[in-house]
């Protein structure tokens, strides 16, 4: 795969322990802001948002005693670049088995960058019903927004250049938690 070639590890932004602390803080913030987690439902954005949402749900259950429902969202059919791209994205299943109508939805993703994925996710959720609110949680906000989008819960703000790649690693997928900054070699 050409994209993996010539990648150099620049720095480690978050250790496994820092990652875990940030996730716990976000879980507490979700509970505080929503005055409990009674109406809260988490929706992970494919791919890495899904295990992150599961982790958050587990923490909320630990702190509050009940586990919020978790859904999986694939935003492919809502992308705004489908007329421009040369590769065809594979369309995956969306699994939101709870009623979004009236719920407080927390969208969960690993990295917030241009904001285009979040825009697509908002449209996809709203086509399923009318939630009471939609909030947005990310592990890393790396800047470079192209749309008026911001996150309600952020693990860490990381200033980056566009040539850098933020890699959020998850123990479910990569064997270990952490955040790394990679760069394409010149």
């Amino acid at each position: 795969m050409p994209e993996t070639a010539n990648l150099v590890l620049k720095s480690k932004i978050m250790s496994a322990a820092e990652f875990e602390r940030a996730l716990k803080r976000i879980a507490h913030e979700v509970i505080e802001r929503n005055k409990g987690a009674g109406d809260v439902a988490l929706v992970g954005i494919h791919t890495r948002g899904v295990p992150l949402a599961e982790r958050l749900a587990g923490l909320i259950e630990r702190f509050e005693g009940s586990r919020p429902p978790v859904g999986k969202l694939d935003i492919t059919l809502y992308r705004d670049d489908l007329t421009e791209i040369s590769l065809q994205p594979i369309v995956r299943r969306t699994e939101v088995d709870f009623d979004v109508h009236g719920a407080k939805i927390v969208l969960v993703d690993d990295v917030l960058y241009t904001g285009r994925t979040a825009r697509a996710a908002l449209d996809a959720i709203i086509d399923m019903g009318r939630p009471a609110a939609i909030q947005y949680a990310v592990m890393v906000d790396r800047g470079h927004r192209e749309l008026p989008i911001r996150a309600d819960y952020v693990g860490k703000n990381v200033p980056t250049s566009r040539s850098e790649i933020v890699h959020v690693r998850l123990r479910e997928v990569d064997g270990e938690d952490g955040v790394e900054l990679w760069e394409r070699a010149a």
Partner: protein
Amino acid sequence: MTGAAAHVPPAPPPAAAARRHRHLLDFEGWTAEEVVSLLETADVMAQVLTRPVKRVPALQGYTVATLFFEESTRTRLSFERAARAQSADVISFAAGSSSLKKGESVRDTLRTIEQLQADLYVVRHPSAGVPHQIARWTDRAVVNAGDGRHAHPTQALLDAYTLRAALTEAGLPPQDRARPFAGRRLTIVGDIEHSRVARSNAELFTLLGGEVVLCGPAALLPRELGRLPGVHLTTDLDEAASGADALMALRIQRERLGPRRLTSLAEYVARYQLRERHLALAKPHAFVMHPGPLNRDVEVATELADGPRSLVERQVASGVPVRMAVLYALLVGRS
């Protein structure tokens, strides 16, 4: 952090593939993997059609033109719904209401349509090969919606989609993702010779690992189809039904039953109508299928067509999600 594990570079999303096919004319050149991907995309499209908002913006900015040189309201509406459910614009051309009746050729018609700047043509024509010819004349994508007795690939896709889902619900999911019909047998009964549905289904079902038995009167059973790997021919319906996972009856066109073909419609019904007796010979879970529109109590007994093992209505319902997947697969990633 352990050093070795930490130095694995981030993999790019595995979720994109180069689009290999410009057209869907028949299944020549298609791999089982590509077809299964289409069926899996159709699963997602079916999900979209159950939501309060039954539309996604995926094909916004694209235009789909349906060019029907032979009337088929059901197939045309199904394609148009599939395009609109993905926010594409639709141009509809039907020969009955056009200058074709005044002697305009297909090529001249196409020249006119080209000015409307569609991105994809859905073509139905009474003569085999016309969609292929149009594909050579244009740089747009072409989907064959039925050409003469040659092919009707989206019908075969929706049949495969329906049967795969029904088998899974019956507790018999595919053992091998890329060969979902391995160990399965589809029996098709009727006027095989004139049927593009039989040809496309034989092609697709065997590509997906299954066996196909084609059954009908000897005069309507073309020998050359029996030479395809995985395809068997027989004139004996009891033999054809035995051990089948699905029994598919084809629509009999009465004008094709003449003295040169068969002695009478009555004789056809007596020997080849699908009945309870045949379902009893098939596997315990076996399903009844028909591409529609059906002649009740001619090619299939009403109690079978309306019975609990019938997939006839589900076949019709599968048309829209399957065609959504085909349009998505041929349009996205073209630039």
